[in-house]
């Protein structure tokens, strides 16, 4: 790739923290002869279809959605691990209103829980946690978009909200809600990986572009781990987010090298739920490390 004509990657303005913003801000893509073409916002539910339809090149969403899309015939593959759930920086937080008597998983019996959609992390991780505590049959799930959950909690329309960043950052910082636990509670956050995926066509035709993209991504992730505050500010500026609520949201393992463990966790889970046929999907086929310069086999 010559400096004169950079390779273009079509990319959506993701509504949650993404190191791609940082790398773009710092000019690191240009250094690798890449150019991010921001196509605008695409609502979360359309990110997978948009990649599958080749409208954008790369995006990130939770593993179960990639697995069900593959089952539906979409030719998608994970090319890099994204953010991980840690106790301090989880993928999701489970929140209640400040006055709520709910303190732990046991108190959830018979309560109403708001999730942003069925069929993904919001539903499944909590369900798994509830099941392990024998409570899963008693819970009433309703769909409430993340943006409306604070209001639903405040009005007492739901008892528990399941929020992602940056929404949980805001409510926790403002004291509008109280955290009872996070998704780290399930298997130490293994299912909390937020991976990057692309279309098989791109893997076939533009491997070199992918390799350079992952390289920049890892650079930005590492930098984010060291500069959470500043990364948050960059994201907030890019998104037009109120700077007061900008913080650091994600932890990245150096190298962003995906492995079988989180993927297999989800395969097993979805097979158990009857959402995937047993034995058809192997973790190895879902991701590739071919383009990861940090992968050492």
């Amino acid at each position: 790739a010559g400096p004169a004509k950079p390779d273009v990657i079509r990319y959506a303005n993701i509504p949650w923290f993404d190191p791609v913003y940082v790398a773009d801000e710092k000019g690191w893509f240009a250094e690798e002869g890449l150019k991010i073409e921001w196509v605008g916002e695409i609502s979360a539910s359309q990110l997978v279809p948009a990649v599958a339809a080749r409208s954008i090149d790369i995006s990130n969403r939770m593993t179960p959605l990639i697995l069900t899309a593959r089952a539906g015939g979409a030719k998608l593959r994970i090319i890099a691990a994204g953010a991980q759930t840690t106790p301090e920086l989880p993928h999701m937080k489970y929140l209640v209103s400040p006055q709520s008597p709910i303190r732990s998983i046991e108190d959830l019996r018979g309560k109403k829980v708001g999730i942003n959609s069925f069929g993904a992390c919001s539903e499944y991780v909590l369900k798994e946690y509830l099941r392990r505590n024998g409570l899963d049959k008693t819970i009433n799930f309703v769909v409430v978009p993340d943006a409306n959950q604070e209001q639903a909690l405040a009005q007492g329309l739901i008892d528990v909200g399941v929020l992602h960043s940056p929404y949980y950052e805001k409510v926790v910082k403002t004291g509008a809600a109280r955290e009872i636990f996070t998704d780290y509670a399930v298997d130490d956050g293994v299912p909390g990986m937020l991976p990057y995926f692309t279309h098989e066509d791109i893997i076939r035709t533009r491997p070199d572009v992918l390799r350079r993209f992952v390289k920049v991504l890892v650079r930005a992730s590492d930098w984010t781990n060291k500069n959470h505050e500043e990364a948050g500010q960059i994201f907030a500026r890019r998104r037009g987010l109120d700077l007061r609520y900008a913080g650091s949201w994600s932890y990245y393992e150096h190298g962003l090298v995906p492995n079988d463990k989180p993927v297999q966790w989800w395969i097993d889970y979805l097979v158990g739920e009857g959402q995937l046929p047993a034995g058809k999907e192997k973790a190895r086929n879902v991701y590739t490390n071919e383009f990861n310069p940090y992968y050492k086999s």
Partner: protein, 251 residues
């Protein structure tokens, strides 16, 4: 007769394209599921009883939402068509209101109506009431002044005049509004079932999208369309019997 043949031809043509294009690979079958697969999926939903469950709750929401639309929209439209004062008074807020997507107002809806059944019914109402108001108003304004004059000459006024002259004369227009409203009620079901739902045909569509079950998405859409068509048929039947003089008189 010719129309019938053409009608069947057009429908078969569309169905054939729907089956053929994805089957032949001209269009990615992952996105446009071939008709046969959609039918099979729909059948499974029927057999498993899931469809009945989703449809029941959605149809209830539509019945309430559209019902309220008619109960509010028709009288309001009649009033606004009849009394210039009333039209002047409410025209502004109503014109303003009907630009606003229920979507954009999610926070306000949640604030006032919560996330239960009420908010869904209100969203259906919000989408379907405008054509009913507007067409009723327009229908009343278009009533031949000569007929009103004749009725008034026989001392008909107020409610009687409305019931015996204005409503029958405006009926075709009012029904057009109600049928449009019905279509939008189905159209907005998807949005209505975006908050606080865990069942319903619109919910099924969205959820199928989210988990990329495209055949199920189409099956849910087909179910929506079938119920929508049934409602349209029903409304058309009521309209026909209410304005039978038009057919009889060959006008």
């Amino acid at each position: 007769m010719q129309g019938r043949i053409l009608q069947v031809g057009v429908i078969l043509g569309i169905l054939a394209l729907w089956e053929g294009l994805p089957q032949s690979g001209v269009i990615n079958p992952n996105f446009l599921t071939p008709l046969s697969d959609v039918v099979a999926t729909l059948w499974q939903l029927v057999v498993s009883g899931q469809l009945a469950q989703h449809a029941a709750i959605s149809l209830q929401r539509i019945a309430y939402g559209l019902g309220v639309s008619i109960l509010i929209g028709v009288p309001l439209g009649l009033g606004m068509g009849w009394w210039r004062t009333l039209e002047q008074a409410f025209d502004g807020p109503l014109q303003a209101g009907r630009q606003i997507s229920a979507f954009a107002l999610f926070p306000v809806f949640i604030l006032f109506f919560g996330i239960g059944e009420v908010s869904k019914v209100v969203i259906v109402f919000w989408a379907s009431v405008w054509p009913i108001i507007l067409n009723t108003t327009a229908g009343v304004k278009g009533v031949d002044a000569v007929l009103v004059r004749a009725a008034r000459s026989m001392n008909a006024n107020g409610w009687t005049l409305l019931r015996k002259v204005v409503i029958p004369a405006a009926a075709p227009s009012i029904f057009t509004g109600i049928r449009l409203g019905g279509a939008y009620a189905f159209m907005v079901l998807v949005a209505a079932e975006m908050i606080g739902a865990n069942a319903g045909l619109g919910f099924l569509v969205l959820n199928s999208q989210e988990v990329f079950r495209i055949p199920q998405m189409y099956a849910a859409i087909v179910a929506l369309v079938i119920f929508g068509l049934a409602l349209n048929r029903l409304l058309l039947g009521i309209e026909r019997s209410a304005t039978s003089w038009r057919q009889e008189a060959g006008a």
